[in-house]
Every structure is written in C-alpha cells, then in structure tokens.
C-alpha cells in the first residue's frame, strides 16, 4: 500500500528497528525474572482460586507461604500438594483457605510433578482453545453486522448488576464492545478481589465472578441481537498477569495492557511492570485476546500537538514488546487519541494526519482510537460536536476499535442515555461519510503530509535518544510523559525475583512453545 501521507518506508523501518533495539535489553532482563503476580497467575491457570475468611485470595496465600522459594517457581509446590493430598484443585483451594500450609508438605519426585503439570496445562489449554474457537465462530457469523471500527463503550457504575443492565442496553443500541471500567485504584491492589461486587468508585472491581456475570449477559444479548459482543477489562497494575489469566479463562476479548502505563501513570516499579506485561501478553496472545495499549494517557498529561511523537514512539515500543510475547499484529490494539486543544486552528487536520499515520505504520493492527477527554467541559453540546469530528476521523482513517466519546465526559461516568447518544452519533457519521477518504487524496506537501512527516522525524530522534540511554534510564530521565520514575522505586518492586537455575513454570514453558518464542542464546 502506498503512503497517502508520503511517509518514507525507510524511515518507518528505521523507527521500528530502533524500537526493537530498545526492547532487546529489557527482554533479557525479563527472561531472567519472575514476580509475585506472574507466580499467582501461573497458580490461577493451574487451578488456584477462592479466598480465605479474611478475604485473602488463595494464590496470594500460596505465594506468601513460599516467599523464600519463589525464585524456583511456586507451581511445583501447588502441584505437589495436589499429588500428595490426592485431591482436585477445588478441594486443595478450600484447604489452603482454611489454613493448610503448602511449604510443609513433603515433595514428591519431580517427574510426577511434571506429569501432573502437563495434565493441568492441558486442561487450561483446552479450555482456552475452546474459547478461541467459539469466539472465532461468533465473530465470523456476525461479520457483516460488525464492520470496522467496532463501537466500544464503557460501563462504570461500580455495581456489576447495574453494569449488566447498562451493557445490555448498549449492546442493543449497537455497541460491539463493552469495557467494564475498574474501580479507582484497583491497579494498586496487590491481589485480585473475589466474587460479585456492588461497591466501587468510578468503576467496578475486576473479579473473576464479575467477568463471568458480564460474559454471560453479553453472550445472551449478543445472541438476541445477532452480534458478538466483546468484553474488555483492565490488566494494568500490580496484578497484570493474573487479570490476563482470568480473562483467558472467562473468554474476555480485549484487555487493557500497556508495557509502560503502570510505570508512568501508577508509579509501579519498572522491573515489575516489564516482567508482568510480558507474561500477561503471552497469555493474551495464546488466548487471542486483543490488547489495548495506553498511548492516550500521554496526551492527557502532555500537550497532544507538541508531544504527538511520544504516541508514535510508544506504539512502536508496545509493538516490539508485544512481538516479543509472541503476539501477532492482529491482536495489537495500539492506542492513540483525539486530544488536541479544540481551539487550535486546523487542529482537525493534525488529528487526521496523526490517525492516518498510525494506520499506515501499523497496517494490520486493530488500532484503538480514544475520544476527546481532556478538553471536554460541562458544555455537553460542544462535547457532542467534538465527538462528531472524532467519529469522522475514526471512520475516515479506518481505525479498528472506536472508544466512543461521552458528551458528559467532564461530569460523570456515563448515564445510560449518554452511551446511546454516543452510539447514534457514531453510526450517523460512519454511515454518512464512510467513503470520504477513499474519495480524496492528501495534497503533496500539504499541511497534513508535512505534519505527519514531521512527527515521524521527531519520533525517530526520540527513539534514537531513548536507545542511547537505554529504556530504564530514559524512564528515570523523564523522557516519557514528563514523568520520572526511579528504577528501584515505585510499587511492587519487592515482588520481583531473579529466577534460579532450577526455576520451573509449566505455564510459561507451554506458552513459549505454543507461541514460538525463541530465546536468543547468549
């Protein structure tokens, strides 16, 4: 495909190459480390679940019991207990919740553990593969009813049962994707809450039961309306791998999952995040869950016109990390956003250029386009007009996933009618001007071509500088989002461990094989 924007293919390749070089040393670090959450996710995928009477989840109890053995991988101890007590994971979970201590149990021969491991991995694998097939069938069946972009809305009442009503209504109205926003600050919890929940601030707890409740509701409504309704949740945070694991088990379809969001915007330790994002992305890759990256966040803190290149740079870094987790491009919902100051002269042209550039650099990625938020005000009418132009660009540049703007963005989490108004706006615009950009050409050396080319150049210099410093130092040096994060600071640093020589993780082994992830030999 020729570039409508006159972007140099060579320069794009150079940028991509630099991103790969930036990611390489980080991958080396990742390969050698595990974290609390990687271990808990592994346990969950093998069958660990439930909470104790204090509300502490069994995976956390196990990892806490095994603090001094984590570098060897905790899976073997859980499997050992299953073998020794000769019980199902369900029974074992109950016992652990009631106080059973795993480290005290005598170890059986490693080969039995490996054998049982294979069996449990097999169960996990079958379950996920069934989900994959089911999803593919559903998507295929509804394909003509769900053209690109998919219409994505959020629900955020804090109460899963209220969320269900809102989500069903949205699906009836035409939404293709429902994201259940998480409650404020769940990303900072070092455990995953349990059961159905009805109390959250600005969002609903991500719990496996909540996933199940919503999945069921959306499947039902989807069957009624003859479309497959995608379900989304948020992995980012201290439990990134675990939430990915839960998503894989409950057939979520998309997962917020950025390689650096937690570091920059949640002050989570960088080593922790890098290791976690890799493991969680392997799970997503295997489960064919589309990730959504968080480039929009750069633009809510920095200026969208000045710092447009940070979005492109981050997309390339996210892509490179994703590829290192075995992820095909079609699962990379790379993010960007319509966040320029609406009072900028010709701002529309700059937004259009940026969106088209993303489309051209990542031709097969289902780009996730985020609506105006920062410049939304209490003037819901003006906001509605801004959303109209946003929808316009989304369709014109063929974005894959369209997070619909809410006219009440500056006021409250969406009311039921806000979502409806967003959906009708998007449908109107998309139908009414669907073929506009294929009916027009960008003027050579015009405002838009020049803008895109400039941003690409800035991206290249920026990546070059990051490469020079190395990613860890670059983050410390405030190069991303004007935020400095110390290498050894931030939340969750205590939960990062160097793997021992004998580290064993059957889930990781399996995923790496399935995903053809090669580990380069030193």
């Amino acid at each position: 495909m020729e570039s409508k924007l006159g972007l140099s293919a060579k320069r794009i390749a150079q940028c991509r190459n630099r991103a790969n070089e930036i990611v390489k040393p980080v991958q080396t670090y990742i390969r050698k480390h595990t974290t609390d959450s990687v271990e808990r996710a592994t346990l969950r995928l093998l069958g660990a679940d439930l909470i104790n009477s204090d509300g502490i989840p069994v995976p956390n109890i196990i990892v806490d019991q095994l603090k001094d053995k984590i570098q060897d991988g905790v899976a073997q101890f859980y499997i050992n207990a299953l073998l020794k007590l000769n019980c199902t994971p369900g029974e074992l979970n109950r016992k652990i919740a009631e106080g059973l201590r795993i480290p005290e149990i005598e170890m059986v021969d490693k080969k039995y553990i490996e054998e049982k491991g294979r069996e449990l991995v097999q169960e996990f694998s079958l379950k996920v593969k069934k989900h994959r097939v089911f999803r593919q069938e559903q998507i295929l069946r509804a394909a003509i009813k769900q053209p690109s972009p998919l219409l994505y809305v959020i629900v955020a009442t804090g109460n899963i049962y209220e969320d269900v009503k809102q989500a069903r209504a949205a699906a009836e109205q035409g939404a293709d994707v429902i994201a259940v926003i998480r409650t404020t600050a769940q990303s900072l919890l070092d455990y995953v809450p349990y059961g159905p929940t009805t109390e959250g601030f600005g969002g609903t707890y991500a719990t496996q039961e909540n996933f199940r409740i919503m999945r069921k509701a959306l499947d039902e409504t989807g069957a009624e309306v003859g479309r497959y309704i995608r379900l989304v949740n948020y992995a980012s945070g201290l439990c990134m791998p675990e939430i990915a694991a839960m998503g894989a088990l409950e057939r979520l379809d998309m997962m917020l999952n950025d390689s650096m969001y937690g570091i920059l915007f949640r002050d989570i330790n960088m080593y922790r995040t890098f290791v976690d994002q890799h493991f969680s992305r392997m799970i997503n890759s295997f489960a064919e869950i589309v990730i959504n990256t968080g480039e929009d966040n750069y633009l809510t803190t920095s200026d969208a016109y000045e710092k447009a290149y940070t979005v492109t740079a981050s997309q390339l870094i996210n892509e490179s990390f994703a590829r290192a987790s075995g992820m095909p491009e079609k699962l990379m919902g790379l993010g960007h956003a319509f966040e320029m100051d609406p009072s900028i002269k010709n701002g529309f042209l700059f937004e259009l250029a940026q969106a088209q550039m993303a489309r051209e650099i990542f031709p097969h990625a289902p780009l996730k386009y985020m609506p105006p938020t920062k410049y939304m005000t209490g003037d819901i009418f003006r906001g509605y007009a801004m959303n109209t132009l946003f929808n316009f660009i989304a369709k014109a540049t063929n974005q894959g996933i369209l997070l619909l703007g809410m006219l009440t963005e500056a006021i409250h989490t969406p009311f039921m009618q806000d979502r409806f108004l967003a959906i009708t706006n998007a449908k109107y615009v998309m139908n009414n001007m669907g073929d506009l950009l294929s009916d027009m050409e960008f003027k050579t050396d015009g405002i838009m071509q020049n803008r895109a080319q400039d941003v690409l150049c800035q991206t290249e210099s920026f990546l070059e500088e990051v490469q020079g410093k190395g990613l860890f130092d670059a983050v410390e040096d405030k190069m991303f989002a004007d935020i400095s994060r110390p290498k050894n600071g931030g939340k969750g640093f205590g939960g990062v461990y160097e793997k021992s020589e004998g580290y064993w993780n059957p889930i990781e082994d399996y995923l790496m094989k399935e995903l053809n992830i090669m580990v380069e030999v030193k």
């Binding site: 009442t157 109460n159 209490g378 819901i380 006021i411 009311f415």
Partner: protein
C-alpha cells in the same frame, strides 16, 4: 409500579437540564442557577457549565436528582388503535361499508406546511407507506395548505365527505388550539359535527388534546397513512351502525 428517572442506578432520579437566566455571568449567576434548580425541586444540583450569552444573559447546563416519582401502572394513554394495514383497510371498507369512503384533508388557517398532510394523503405517501389517495376504497381530496376552516367545511359538505382531516404544524402562541377550536365551533354551527368523523394531526398534536378539543382523534409525530385509514374505517362503520340503530 413507582418509577423515577434513571441515570446509572435505579431510582437515582437523575435529570439533565439546560436553561438561560436573565443575569450576567459570574459566580453569582452560577449560584443563582444552583438555587433555581433547587426551586425546581432538584437535589444534588450540579451546575456543570455556564456561559455568558450576552451582558445580561447566562446559559447553564446542569444535572440534578429528583425524588419525584410516578405510578407507571396508573398511566393511561388513549391511544388511537391502529390495527390494519393497507390491504386490510381496503378489505374492511369493501366488506363492511360496501362503498368508497370520502375523505377531505387540509392544513388550515395561516399554516402553510403541506408536507405533513401530503405524507398522509398523497399517492406516493411517506417513508414507503402509501397515502390515502392510493387506497382503492378511499376517495381522497387534499386541499393543500392555508385553507380557511370555512372553505374546508364547505368543500367537505359539497362532496359529502365521511371524514375531514385537519393538519396543524405551527403551534406558536397556541395558534393550533385556536384554529382547531374554531373548526369545531363552525362544524357545530353548520350542524355537521355528527355527520363526519374529524381528525387532527401534526407533530405537536396528541390524541388526548384532540379529543379534549372535540375531535374524534389526533395523530402526532411518526403517524402513517394506514393509522388514519384504519381508524377512519372503523369509526365510520361505528357511526353508521349507531345511526341505523337510532
């Protein structure tokens, strides 16, 4: 079953408002807007936006919650029954009335909006619904717009109409109410009221208010020709039977 407005939680009573106050913009205006919402009966009032419209006027967007509720099970709508489609209406007339029915329609008074009455009467109809002129069992006369009530009535009398259709689009200063009331008075003065079925229509017309003024039915936004046609057919039959029994 008591209901309230719904924002994102059952019975939260959340409502969006926008309005203008005749005061200069500023913190005092904002506070006035908040108080005003209180006077309107809202709680948890949030004035989320204010903007000067001029030196003397300010525009507000606000959200509030109201404890007002109503019993949905007690809501009564005297809806016009609209059961038959194009073919059914024609069959019904043929079988029951055994003659064509004559319908005269117009947009009356100073009102010049023909599109609504045309939608109901014209051959080509509206939104893929044929108009009355296309009905083989209906003889339809569309007199167009700006027809004086007197002229409409005289015409209907002349062609011995079974029914008259009155369209009213402009509603400013309640001009439609005056027009429609005057129409009924003239019909009664001419002693024709009980000889014909009379219906009104227009985007601000409801069945309820049409009945109150003395029409047999009222048709609002989203009406289609077959709604009127099936109402007319049944009502005319009812009338004939009534007349015969007297």
């Amino acid at each position: 079953m008591m209901i309230k407005a719904y924002g994102d939680t059952l019975n939260d009573g959340a409502v969006q408002l926008s309005f203008t106050l005749p005061v200069a913009a500023g913190p005092k205006a904002d506070e006035a807007a908040r108080i005003y919402m209180g006077k309107l009966g809202f709680e948890e009032c949030e004035v989320v936006h204010s903007n000067p419209l001029s030196q003397d006027f300010t525009f507000f967007v606000a959200y509030g919650k109201s404890s007002a509720s109503l019993d949905f099970s007690k809501v009564v709508v005297k809806e016009v029954e609209t059961t038959m489609d194009f073919n059914e209406v024609n069959r019904f007339i043929k079988e029951n009335l055994k003659r064509k029915i004559v319908v005269v329609g117009a947009c009356t008074g100073s009102d010049a909006h023909t599109v609504g009455i045309d939608a109901i009467m014209n051959m080509k109809g509206y939104d893929h619904h044929y108009g009355l002129e296309r009905y083989p069992e209906i003889e339809a006369h569309n007199l167009g717009a700006q027809v004086a009530n007197e002229d409409l009535i005289a015409y209907a009398d002349k062609v011995q109409a079974d029914a008259i259709l009155v369209s009213q689009i402009v509603t400013q200063k309640e001009v439609h109410i005056h027009n429609m009331t005057n129409f009924i008075e003239l019909m009664e003065a001419e002693d024709l009221r009980n000889k014909m079925v009379i219906c009104a229509g227009g985007p601000r017309i409801t069945n309820k208010m049409a009945l109150e003024i003395g029409f047999d039915a009222g048709f609002g936004r989203g009406s289609y020709p077959e709604h009127v046609a099936s109402f007319l057919a049944e009502k005319i039959l009812e009338k004939e039977r009534g007349d015969r029994n007297e």
